[in-house]
Amino acid sequence: MEFFDDIVKKTLQYGEKLGVYLVLRIQKTKAKYIVINNGETEEMSYNEAGGIGIQVFTKDGGCGFASSEKIDQESCLQMVEIAANIAFQIDKRGGKKNKEIFKISSIKDKAYASVKYPFDYLKIEEEEIQLLKFNKEIIDSYNCISIETFYKFIEDQWRIIRSDGTDVFYNLPRVAISNTITAKAGNTATTRSAISGSDASILIDKDKRDCLVKRTKNACNLAIELLEAPTIKGGSYKIILDYPLAKGLAHEAFGHAVESDGLKTSILGDSKGGFNKGQAVASSIVSIIDESVDGDYAYQPYSANGVKRRPVNIVEKGILQEALSDVFSASEAAVPITGAGRVESYRHIPLPRMSNIRIEVEGFVPMEKEIEDVTPEELYKILLENNLAEPHEEIIYLVGYKGGQVKPSQGEFVFNCSGIYLLGDSCKLYQPAIFSGKVLSALKAIIGALGELKLDAQGTCGKAGQSVPSSGGSHYFIVLEANKDVIIGGA
């Protein structure tokens, strides 16, 4: 990336000549994708791409943006000119202005993720062999399932330069293997399994491979059982969530609602864009933290505006404490800048986003087994032993996160699971159903947790047309008491 020094220098000089402030975002990406379908390679590809995004601010705070795949002198100067013209148009038309970028300190830094196996450690054909072996092992173990295995290994290199002298380099390596499992025998049911990280250790290291096999076999067994499962009656229940679903709860119900660009219309903000710091939003045993973790799928050491990202205590012992903020909207929300700006690619404009979000519960019950080995019956027994459940109490256990969505303005969130168990001495499986609730009720319903923290629940977060990697988790299981505003939808 140092290769672009001369282009960067001349582009900044041109910005100065036009009287505008620049933020340059240079991205270089290499990516390997492999898809295996039922024991055969469906598709495999290797791609390299990149480009530059140029955000321009006039002295009055008007903003314009232009992007190009070509990182050459001619193209960069042309993009500066286009973006500057747009920004001056905004000034002329009385559009919204923002001068916050002028107030922050400059920084020079390099932040590279520590990875055990670099991007090129395995050749793509070696990765294909490993994935074929895994996929065949699963398909050979069952006779009524099909499985699609999707592998992606992406490494983004970023360089963020600002007119104030800021020059930050960082890389974002990420890997995921996800499986879509479909059982078919008259009826049809689909479940998923996944493992993620920052390097090929998920293919190479035995403990991670074994974990993936275990998760995938659990998902296959669940899909087969779902073929005969009835639908559950909609309504409010006492609920146990596994940690990927708890990540979904933290992410959808809370994370999005505290992003500083949306506080004006969020249930956790006010009409002026301020943040409701100090509001009691959960029981006092609950905390929510967002933190970029080295080695994680959603690692993000610096924001796409060149500001160091720091951990954010969103909720501390039940009280709303901090927002996820970036340089542009922190001031309006009257919160400190946390460096939360993330971007899908150089073609996009950064927005405040989560990285790895987790729910921590004080006084959790430790567990001996790995979560993948805990059966619903064992879970029920542990709940009874620890007074988190009463005998004959109606409790449902939701397994397997299948994505979610939120409407912060109305305080509504949803996410879906792969299956629902009605817990008891003998547990009964039901079809998945939407888990829906009010942001301000959901966290208050948490009354306990079981198991250590597990933070590798991986996903993709969509916002304003941009997708970025997300991750997070909680203790193995969290327990929510029945609440009228937290509803299982029936199926």
């Binding site: 055969e40 598709e43 791609n47 070509k70 919204k96 479909t182 689909t190 219309t265 927005l351 939808g489």
Partner: protein, 439 residues
């Protein structure tokens, strides 16, 4: 762009010579687009701003498929720098090649359709005069903000594409196309969008504004909803997401062959009736100025019209070259964006008549969580934060509901109705559904 395409073709041909040894190419096809676009946004009533500032973009995007001499295959992305770094990239593409026993062949047809895809007015917005883009946002603001609506978010964009589809059998399609899109969202409750290859008409613009105002008015007076089975009317935008998720997803050849669909190859061979006999589903990718229209897929399959479900019976899966070959059927056009899939019944109801006949029901204006649903089972369990309660044909006010049922089964029910709303391409659907209201 012509220069880029010529250079790309020349470089590919260089690798068709035998002196390239294991890098020798036997056949190839590619599709490439040069896109120039401009987008302007409004957030919280204010034009521009950091998060929705006007954006200009120029890019070359495409996809190339290579059949090597030893019959291995490669698929790769094309972008502006590909030609410059071609010799390096082709080596990497070869390393990422894969064996495909029943891989597709290079395809060409005698004739390709003429499709209207270019609008000079949109092209002018991209290259000459962006006033209209700003004016449209100002019109949204002027018409809506003030009385009952406090806040709008909106955007508008115009794009021009130079499209090229070439292959080693001599296919060489090049054409210009445009795209115009806009959305309007009021008080974070209700919004409408529009996308077409032509500029929005005044009539459509006015419909978007008036419907947004009307729905927000209807939704703001909140009511409690009792749970139970009731009539559920899906507005066109909601219907579209149901069709796409539960019907189209189950009709892709790759899903059927790989047993990840509600339907099997045998179901198609027997032309089984899977939805009610008066309902049809087709792909049409040649309608003038539709966003989902095109001349050819990047594989060289001509755009056109094909019935996927005729009189409720399965006709053909959606087939690219690979899966057409696998199941020994003709390849079909592939849905490509809004307006290429059409669901209709021989009996289409009117919206007003349908509403007047609802004794107890809801109109679903938006949904959360469609992407989390299992399309293969047909089951749905979805939160609809903004519905309008209907009692004895009267619109009572806004409510939240969770709807659940099985969409594929609903399309078999006699009770289910399809109908048209003026100026909407997608129908509404009325069906019975389990509904959980807020207690």
């Amino acid at each position: 762009m012509e220069e880029y395409i010529k250079e790309l073709e020349d470089k590919i041909k260089e690798y068709m010579l035998s002196n390239k040894k294991e890098l020798q190419i036997k056949g190839w096809y590619f599709g490439a687009n040069k896109n120039t676009s401009i987008k302007v946004g409004m957030k919280n009533n204010e034009l521009g701003g950091v998060y929705s500032c006007p954006k200009a973009e120029e890019s070359i995007r495409g996809k190339i498929y290579i059949i090597w001499q030893d019959n291995r295959r490669s698929v790769a992305v094309l972008q502006s720098n590909t030609v410059k770094s071609f010799h390096k990239m082709i080596d990497l593409w070869r390393k990422a090649s894969f064996a495909e026993a029943e891989g597709s062949d290079i395809y060409i047809e005698q004739q390709y359709p003429k499709v209207k895809l270019f609008d000079i007015e949109v092209n002018n917005m991209v290259y000459n005069n962006q006033e209209y883009l700003f004016d449209l946002l100002e019109a949204y603001h002027k018409e809506l903000v003030g009385s009952e609506i406090k806040n709008i978010d909106a955007s508008v964009s115009a794009s021009t594409f130079q499209q090229y589809i070439y292959n080693s059998k001599g296919l060489a399609i090049s054409n210009l196309s445009t795209s115009f899109s806009t959305y309007l969202y009021g008080d974070e409750i209700f919004g409408k969008s529009f996308i077409n290859r032509r500029k929005i008409s005044n009539e459509k613009k006015n419909q978007i504004i008036s419907e947004t105002a009307m729905r927000i008015h209807q939704l703001k007076n909140r009511k409690k909803l009792k749970s139970g089975e009731m009539d559920v009317l899906l507005l066109p935008e909601v219907t579209e997401s149901f069709i796409s998720h539960y019907l189209v997803n189950n009709l892709f050849g790759s899903h059927i062959v790989n047993k990840r669909s509600a339907f099997s190859q045998a179901n198609f061979d027997k032309a089984e009736e899977v939805i009610r006999g008066d309902i049809n589903l087709c792909i049409n990718t040649t309608l003038p100025y539709n966003q989902g229209s095109y001349i050819s897929t990047f594989e060289g399959v001509p755009g056109g019209e094909v019935l996927l479900l005729r009189n409720g019976k399965l006709q053909t899966p959606i087939l690219d070259l690979k899966y057409a070959k696998k199941i020994k059927r003709k390849p079909t056009p592939i849905p490509a964006g809004k307006g290429s899939i059409h669901l209709y019944s021989t009996v289409m109801e009117s919206y007003q008549d349908t509403i007047s006949k609802i004794e107890n029901g809801i109109i679903v204006c938006d949904l959360l969580g469609m992407h989390t649903q299992d399309a293969t089972s047909g089951n749905y369990s979805l939160t609809a934060p903004n519905c309008i309660q209907v009692i004895n044909g009267q619109l009572m006010g806004g409510c939240k509901a969770i709807i659940s049922g099985n969409f594929l089964n609903a399309l078999k029910e006699e009770y289910t109705k399809l109908g048209k709303i003026p100026m909407e391409d997608v129908p509404f659907i009325l069906m019975k559904s389990k509904v959980t209201g807020e207690s």
